[in-house]
C-alpha cells in the first residue's frame, strides 16, 4: 500500500500524548522509579510527584487534594463510584434488607451501564435508566420524576462520548440539593421520633469527554463524584481519577494496600499520574482556550459542509448543546463499518455506531436511545477533532467521505426500500 497521509479524526477514542506531557513523564520510568509507598528517598521522590499531581488535579476541579483518588482510568473510576456507593450503603446497619435505587441514563458509557445492569441482575439494586430524546439530552423533569425514597445515587455523564451532547449537570445537581432539603424540612416538621438517617442522594458524573472543553468545577456542578481519564486529554493511557467529596459515603472495591487513603489499592501508576496532571494543567492555559475556539469553528465548518455536500446526510443529536470537537452523522442507505473501512483506506481515521464495528449484533445503544432505527444507527459516523486538526484535513476528509458515501450507495442500490 502506498504511503498516504493519515488524518486522525477519532479524538473521542483517544488522543496522542502531548510532547510537553511526555517530557514530564519520562523521568518517572527509570530515574525516579520509586514506589510512592516506600519510606526511602526513592519512594519519597515518587510520592512527592504524586502529591503534586494531586494538587494539580484538585486545582482544576476546584476541590481539596485529599478528595482526589487516582485510578487506572474512567472505567475504574465509574465502577468505584457506583459499586463504592452501594457498598457503603449496604454496610450500614439501618439499611439491611433495603434494595437501594440508582438513576442513570440509557446512553451512558458501557462501564456505567454494564455495572448498573450487573448489580441489578444480582438483585442488589434497582435502576431507572432515563430516556434521552432526539437531541441527545436528558430532561430535568425526568430526573425529578425518577427520584424515589430509596434513591442513593444519580449518575449522568457530562458529555456523551458518541454524540458529544452536554447534559444539564448543574441543573441536576441543584435539583438533587433542593430535593434533599425539602425532604429534610418535611421530616423535621413531622417531628418524627425515629432518627433521620437518610443521607443525601449522591450525584456522580462521568466527565471523561468534558474535561478538555467544559468547566469541571465540582462546586459549580454540585457533584459528589466525578470521573475523568488521562488519555482523552492528551495524557497517557491507563490512568484516571475519581473526585470523592465525602469519603465516608464510599467504600473501596479493590482490596490490597493502603494507597489512596485506602480507597484504591494497588501501586500508583506514577508516570501516568504525573502525565495526567500535566495534561490537565495544559487545559487551563490560555493557549488551550484559543485552540478550543479553533476546534469549534472547524467542527462547525465540517458539519455545515457535510450536510450541504452529501445528500441524505443528517446530524445526530443537538448542535447547540454539543462538545466543540464532536460531529456525529448518519447517511441513508450506507452502513457505517464499510464507511470507516473505506475512510481508513484513504487515510482518515473515524468511528461508527454500527454493530459491525463492535463485534456485537446491535448498533450503538446511544443512537438507539435517541430513537433512531437500527438501520439509521448502522449508518452512523463519528468524527471527533483534536488540537492538531487542520482545515485542510477537514476539506480532504469531506471530499473523500462524499466519494465513499456515493460509492457505497451505488453498491447498496435500494435494498432498504423493501423494508419500508
Amino acid at each position: 500500500m502506498p504511503k498516504i497521509k493519515r488524518i486522525y479524526l477519532d479524538h473521542a477514542a483517544t488522543t496522542p500524548v502531548d510532547p510537553v506531557v511526555f517530557a514530564k513523564i519520562r523521568p518517572y520510568f527509570s530515574e525516579k522509579f520509586g514506589n510512592p509507598m516506600s519510606v526511602h528517598s526513592f519512594g519519597q521522590e515518587a510520592m512527592a510527584a504524586v502529591d503534586q499531581a494531586r494538587v494539580q488535579v484538585a486545582y482544576f476541579l476546584r476541590c481539596q487534594p485529599k478528595e482526589i483518588v487516582f485510578t487506572s482510568g474512567a472505567t475504574e473510576s465509574n465502577n468505584l463510584a457506583i459499586r463504592g456507593t452501594l457498598k457503603a450503603y449496604q454496610a450500614k446497619k439501618e439499611n439491611q434488607g433495603v434494595i437501594p435505587h440508582i438513576i442513570t441514563t440509557q446512553f451512558e458509557h458501557h462501564c456505567v451501564l454494564n455495572t448498573c445492569q450487573e448489580l441489578e441482575k444480582e438483585g442488589q439494586i434497582e435502576v431507572t435508566y432515563l430516556s434521552v430524546y432526539a437531541d441527545g439530552l436528558v430532561r430535568l423533569a425526568d430526573v425529578k420524576r425518577a427520584l424515589k425514597s430509596n434513591t442513593i445515587l444519580v449518575s449522568v455523564m457530562y458529555v456523551n462520548n458518541e454524540i458529544g451532547t452536554v447534559q444539564p449537570i448543574v441543573e441536576i445537581g441543584q435539583l438533587l440539593r433542593e430535593a434533599h432539603s425539602v425532604e429534610r424540612i418535611a421530616r423535621n416538621s413531622k417531628r418524627s421520633t425515629f432518627r433521620d438517617t437518610r443521607s443525601k442522594i449522591l450525584f456522580h458524573t462521568d466527565a471523561t469527554q468534558a474535561v478538555n472543553y467544559f468547566d469541571c468545577d465540582v462546586n459549580k456542578l454540585d457533584v459528589d463524584l466525578l470521573s475523568l481519564s488521562g488519555h482523552k486529554i492528551y495524557g497517557p493511557k491507563g490512568v484516571g481519577a475519581l473526585f470523592i467529596r465525602d469519603k465516608s459515603a464510599i467504600t473501596h472495591v479493590q482490596s490490597g494496600g493502603d494507597q489512596e487513603a485506602g480507597m484504591r489499592a494497588g501501586t500508583h501508576n506514577v508516570p501516568g499520574i504525573v502525565g495526567m496532571a500535566e495534561a490537565i494543567r495544559q487545559i487551563k492555559s490560555s493557549k488551550s482556550k484559543v485552540k478550543n475556539n479553533e476546534i469549534l469553528k472547524l467542527r462547525n465548518y465540517l458539519i455545515k459542509k457535510v450536510l450541504k455536500e452529501i445528500p441524505k446526510s443528517h446530524l445526530n443529536g443537538s448542535l447547540d448543546q454539543r462538545s466543540p470537537n464532536n460531529a456525529n452523522f448518519r447517511f441513508d442507505d450506507v452502513e457505517g463499518e464499510g464507511l470507516i473501512l473505506s475512510l481508513d483506506m484513504e487515510g482518515v481515521a473515524a468511528s461508527t455506531g454500527s454493530a459491525c464495528s463492535s463485534g456485537s449484533l446491535d448498533p450503538s445503544h446511544v443512537l438507539l436511545a435517541l430513537g433512531l432505527k437500527h438501520e439509521q444507527a448502522h449508518g452512523s459516523l463519528r468524527l471527533t477533532l483534536g488540537k492538531s486538526t487542520t482545515k485542510q484535513e477537514i476539506e480532504y476528509a469531506v471530499k473523500i467521505l462524499k466519494k465513499i458515501v456515493s460509492r457505497l450507495r451505488k453498491i447498496s442500490g435500494d435494498v432498504l426500500k423493501e423494508f419500508k
Binding site: E335, E337, L341, M345, C356, H374, S412, G413, V415, F419
Partner: protein, 127 residues
C-alpha cells in the same frame, strides 16, 4: 477488524455489482436490524439437452465490508455454474475463497450463499 487482503480487494472493487433487468430469479437475505441486506439477481442460460447454467449473477448489498466482499465472491463462484452446482456453494466456500473472515463475521455477514440459493429457488418456483 482484521480483514484479509482478498476481502479488502472485493470490498474496494466488488465484482458483478448492480441490478439485472428482467432477472430470472432474485434472492434477498438479511434485515435492517442486523445491518446487512443483500439482493442477488440471476440470469439463467437454457440450452437444449443441457442443464441450466448461471449466465449472469449480480448483487446489491447494504452492509459491512464482509457483507459486500462475500456478495462479490459468491457471484464469482456462481457464474457459469449449473444451478445444481451453484446450490452446493456454501458459506464456508465463500469464506475460504476470501482467505477467511473474522470470526464475528462468519455468521452475521456471510449471507451471500444464502442469497444465491434463494435466487435459484425463486427461479425454480417461477418456472
Amino acid at each position: 477488524m482484521q480483514y484479509s487482503k482478498k476481502v479488502l480487494e472485493h470490498f474496494t472493487r466488488p465484482h458483478n455489482q448492480g441490478k439485472i433487468k428482467n432477472a430470472d430469479g432474485v434472492g434477498m437475505v438479511g434485515n435492517p436490524k442486523c445491518g446487512d441486506i443483500m439482493r442477488l439477481y440471476i440470469k439463467v442460460a437454457k440450452t437444449k439437452g443441457k442443464s441450466e447454467t448461471l449466465k449472469d449473477v449480480k448483487f446489491e448489498t447494504l452492509g459491512c465490508g464482509a457483507a459486500i466482499a462475500t456478495s462479490s465472491m459468491v457471484t464469482d463462484l456462481a457464474k457459469g455454474k449449473t444451478l445444481d452446482e451453484a446450490m452446493k456453494i456454501t458459506r464456508q466456500n465463500v469464506a475460504d475463497n476470501l482467505e477467511g473472515l473474522p470470526p464475528a463475521k462468519m455468521h452475521c455477514s456471510n449471507l451471500a450463499a444464502d442469497a444465491l440459493h434463494r435466487a435459484i429457488k425463486n427461479y425454480r418456483e417461477k418456472k
